[in-house]
C-alpha cells in the first residue's frame, strides 16, 4: 500500500497501463518533458520516449482528431486536454466523430480514446480554468463520462477506462488533485465503470455528488449529524452510464434527495438525476428534491468562494428537505 494523491494515482495508472500495453500512447500540450502542467504525466517521457509520450502543437481539435486516427488503427490513445475549459475546439471531433464512429459504421470502426482533462473550480483560475463542462458530454450518446473523487478511484477508474472498448471522457477534479493522500494498493486493480459508491451510509436523506463535491457532501453530512439528521452520500463516479439502481435504492431508503454539483444549475447533471427520481421513485419521496449547484453565471475569479457550493450551503438544502 502506498499513500498517494490523485495526481500520483493518475500518473501511476498511466505508467502501469503503458507498461502493460505497448499500444497505449499519451499525447497533449506539455505532457512530455514537462510532465504535464499538473504533473500527471511526470516521468512518462523518460520512461517511454518521444514516440509514446507526444508533446503536440497547440490545437485541441488536432490532439483529439489525431487520437481518433491512432485508435481507429489500433493504438490506445490517451490524450490530455490541459484544462477542460480548452476542450471546445475539439468539441466537433468528440461529439460528431469520437462518439459516433461505432454507431455510424455499424460497429466496423471503433476508437476507444480516453480523454483525460482537469475540470472544476477551487484553484483561483477564473472562468477559463474552472468550468465544469460535464453535461455537454453526458448529453452526447456514445461517450462514457467518468469523474473520480479520490486517489483509489482515480487510479482504478483510469485503468478501467484505458481497457474499455468505448471512448471515455475522464474528468479529473483539479481542486483535490493534491488533496489528502490516500492508501492505494500496489497491485493491479480496476474500479468498474458504471457503479456508484456509497461514501457514507444514512437513513434520513441522500446527497448525490461527484468529483470535488463529494468531500463537500461529506462535510455537510457531518454538520447535519449535529442536528440529528443522518445523511447518505452517493458518489456517482460514472455519469454515463449512470448507476440508476444505486440512486433509486438510496432514495427509496431515505425518501429525501439533495443533489450537489459545482456546474451551473440550469440543465445540469442533477436535473437528470431529479428527473429520474421523479419518474421512477416519486412515490417514495417525502420532500421536494433540492439541487445545490453553481449559479447560472460564468465562473468568477475574485468571488470564486461565493460561487462554489460549500458545506453550509448544502446544509441549508438539507435543512429544507428535513423540515419540509
Amino acid at each position: 500500500m502506498a499513500e498517494i494523491t490523485i495526481v500520483q494515482a493518475v500518473n501511476d495508472a498511466l505508467k502501469e497501463e503503458m507498461t502493460r500495453d505497448d499500444d497505449v500512447v499519451v499525447l497533449g500540450e506539455d505532457v512530455g518533458v514537462n510532465g504535464g502542467v499538473f504533473r500527471c504525466t511526470a516521468d512518462l517521457h523518460e520512461m517511454f520516449g518521444d514516440d509514446r509520450v507526444i508533446d503536440t502543437p497547440l490545437s485541441e481539435s488536432g490532439i483529439i482528431g489525431a487520437a481518433i486516427g491512432m485508435s481507429l488503427y489500433g493504438l490506445k490513445a490517451v490524450p490530455e486536454i490541459q484544462f477542460s475549459d480548452f476542450i471546445w475546439p475539439a468539441f466537433d471531433q468528440i461529439t460528431s466523430e469520437l462518439a459516433k464512429f461505432r454507431y455510424r459504421s455499424g460497429g466496423q470502426f471503433t476508437c476507444p480514446v480516453v480523454i483525460r482533462t482537469p475540470y472544476g473550480g477551487g484553484i483561483r483560475g477564473g472562468h477559463y480554468h474552472s468550468q465544469s463542462p460535464e453535461v455537454y458530454f453526458t448529453h452526447t450518446s456514445g461517450l462514457v463520462v467518468v469523474v473520480p473523487s479520490d486517489a483509489y478511484d482515480a487510479k482504478g477508474l483510469l485503468k478501467a477506462a484505458i481497457r474499455s472498448p468505448d471512448p471515455v471522457l475522464f474528468l479529473e477534479p483539479k481542486k483535490i488533485y493534491r488533496a489528502p493522500k490516500m492508501e492505494v494498493p500496489d497491485d493491479d486493480y480496476v474500479v468498474e465503470i458504471g457503479k456508484a459508491a456509497v461514501r457514507r451510509e444514512g437513513t434520513d436523506f441522500t446527497i448525490t455528488a461527484y468529483g470535488a463535491m463529494v468531500e463537500v457532501a461529506m462535510a455537510a453530512c457531518e454538520k447535519a449529524a449535529e442536528k440529528g439528521w443522518n445523511g447518505e452520500v452517493l458518489d456517482l463516479r460514472t455519469l454515463v452510464p449512470l448507476d440508476e439502481e444505486s440512486l433509486i435504492a438510496s432514495v427509496t431508503k431515505t425518501g429525501r434527495l439533495v443533489t450537489l454539483q459545482e456546474a451551473p444549475k440550469f440543465c445540469g447533471f442533477s436535473s437528470e438525476l431529479s428527473a429520474i427520481v421523479a419518474e421512477k421513485a416519486i412515490d417514495v419521496m417525502e420532500a421536494p428534491i433540492k439541487r445545490v449547484a453553481g449559479f447560472d453565471t460564468p465562473f468568477p475569479y475574485t468571488l470564486e468562494h461565493v460561487y462554489m457550493p460549500h458545506a453550509d450551503r448544502v446544509l441549508n438544502a438539507i435543512t429544507e428537505v428535513m423540515t419540509y
Binding site: 506539455d30 512530455g32 480548452f86 488533485y177 468568477p300 468562494h305
Partner: protein
C-alpha cells in the same frame, strides 16, 4: 525583406546595421525607450506582488519589451487591438491608465471587470482594446471580422491581432488569416515568436522554417523581424500598417524574441529548458536600445535612474491605494450575464443574500497552479 530573412536595424552592441535610417525624432526614440523601461518596471512589480501572495497570478513579459513597444508606437488611437496576455507595454502606450491595469490584477472593486477574469486578462473598450480571453487563438479570426467591418464602413482604421508562436497552431489562426486574405481586410497579424509555448519549443510547434512564411499560403506578405530590436519592429509594423490603411490588405509579422522568464507565475521552466534562458539575458532588448541611444547621446545613467524610479514610485503608490479596496460586490456575480438580469438569476442572487449575506472569506489554500 522576405519571409525567411530577418529584419534588423540595431545590432547587439547598439550599432546601426545595414543602411536602415529611422524616421523617428530623438524625442520619439526616447519616449519609446521610456515605454520599454515602464513595461519592465510594471512587470517586475507585479511579479513581486505575486511572489508575496498579494495578487493571485501574473504573466511576465520580460525580454519581450521591444515587440510590445515597437508595435505600440505605430498603431493609431482609433485602431483596434486584439492583444495577447503578454503585452502590458502596448496597452500602456495606448493610454490605458496604469491604475486600471494594476486594479485588474487585484480583481477587486477597482477592477473595471469586477474581478471576473484572472489577472492580465484586460478589457479596455475606451482604448479599443478588446477583452482578452484565455483560450489561445480565438481572437485571431475575430480581428479579421473587425477589420472587415472597418473596411465595410470605409474608415481609415486598422486592426491588429497579437498572439504567440503557440497560437499559430490554433484553428482560428488558420481561419483568421484565410478569411483576411480572401477579404483583403486591413488587419495585422503580429506573432511574438518567443520560441516557447509553455514547455513546448517552436520545433515541436511547427515544421515550417519560419512562421512568417505561412503568410505565403494565405496570399499576404509575411515579414520576419528581430523582435528584440525595437526599431526593426517599428519599421516592419509601420510598413504593414501603411499597406493595410491604403487598402493593400493584411500582413503577417513574426517578431523573433525569447520568453526569458517562466510562462507564468505558476510555471517552473527549469523542468524543461535548463538554463537556456541565460544566454538571452545578454540579448536584452532594453539594453540594446539603450546602447543605441547612448551612442547618440540621447540617454544617460541619470535618466535611466530617474525613469526606473518613476515607474517604481507610480506602481507603489497605486498598489498602496488599490490593495486596500474591498472585493467586488456579490451582486456583480449576476450582472452582465445578460443585458438584464433574468428571473432565475434574480432568484439565485436573492436566495444567496438571504441565506449567506455577502459571502465568505477567500479560501486561503486556493492558488493557481499553472
Amino acid at each position: 525583406m522576405t519571409a525567411t530573412e530577418m529584419l534588423q536595424i540595431i545590432g547587439e552592441s547598439g550599432q546601426t546595421v545595414g543602411d536602415h535610417e529611422t524616421d523617428l525624432t530623438p524625442d520619439e526614440l526616447v519616449a519609446m525607450y521610456e515605454a520599454m523601461v515602464r513595461t519592465r518596471g510594471l512587470d517586475e512589480r507585479m511579479i513581486n506582488l505575486q511572489r508575496q501572495g498579494r495578487i493571485g497570478f501574473y504573466v511576465p513579459s520580460t525580454g519581450e519589451e521591444a515587440a510590445q513597444v515597437g508595435s505600440g508606437t505605430v498603431l493609431l488611437k482609433d485602431d483596434w487591438l486584439y492583444p495577447s496576455y503578454r503585452m502590458p507595454g502596448t496597452l500602456l502606450m495606448r493610454g490605458v491608465p496604469l491604475r486600471d491595469m494594476i486594479a485588474n490584477c487585484y480583481g477587486n472593486e477597482a477592477d473595471n471587470c469586477f474581478g471576473r477574469q484572472m489577472p492580465v486578462h484586460y478589457s479596455f473598450a475606451k482604448q479599443n482594446i478588446v477583452s482578452i480571453s484565455s483560450p489561445i487563438g480565438t481572437h485571431i479570426i475575430q480581428a479579421t471580422g473587425t477589420a472587415m467591418a472597418q473596411k465595410l464602413r470605409g474608415t481609415k482604421e486598422i486592426t491588429a491581432a497579437f498572439f504567440g508562436d503557440g497560437g499559430t497552431s490554433s484553428n482560428d489562426f488558420h481561419s483568421g488569416l484565410n478569411f483576411a486574405g480572401v477579404w483583403k481586410v486591413p488587419c495585422l497579424f503580429i506573432c511574438s515568436n518567443n520560441q516557447w509555448a509553455i514547455s513546448v519549443p517552436i520545433e515541436k510547434q511547427t515544421a515550417s522554417e519560419t512562421l512568417a512564411q505561412k503568410a505565403v499560403a494565405y496570399g499576404m506578405p509575411g515579414v520576419r523581424v528581430d523582435g528584440n530590436d525595437v526599431l526593426a519592429v517599428y519599421k516592419a509594423v509601420k510598413e504593414a500598417a501603411e499597406l493595410a490603411r491604403s487598402g493593400g490588405g493584411p500582413s503577417l509579422l513574426e517578431l523573433m524574441t525569447y520568453r526569458r522568464g517562466p510562462h507564468s507565475s505558476s510555471d517552473d521552466p527549469t523542468r524543461y529548458r535548463g538554463n537556456q534562458a541565460d544566454e538571452w539575458l545578454t540579448r536584452d532588448p532594453i539594453l540594446r536600445f539603450r546602447k543605441y541611444l547612448e551612442r547618440q547621446d540621447l540617454w544617460t545613467d541619470k535618466k535611466e535612474k530617474e525613469a526606473t524610479e518613476r515607474i517604481k514610485n507610480e506602481c507603489n503608490a497605486l498598489v498602496k491605494e488599490i490593495e486596500k479596496l474591498p472585493n467586488p460586490t456579490t451582486e456583480s456575480l449576476f450582472t452582465d450575464v445578460y443585458a438584464n438580469v433574468p428571473p432565475h438569476l434574480r432568484e439565485q442572487y436573492k436566495h444567496l443574500v438571504e441565506t449567506e449575506g455577502e459571502g465568505h472569506e477567500p479560501d486561503p489554500d486556493a492558488a493557481f497552479p499553472l
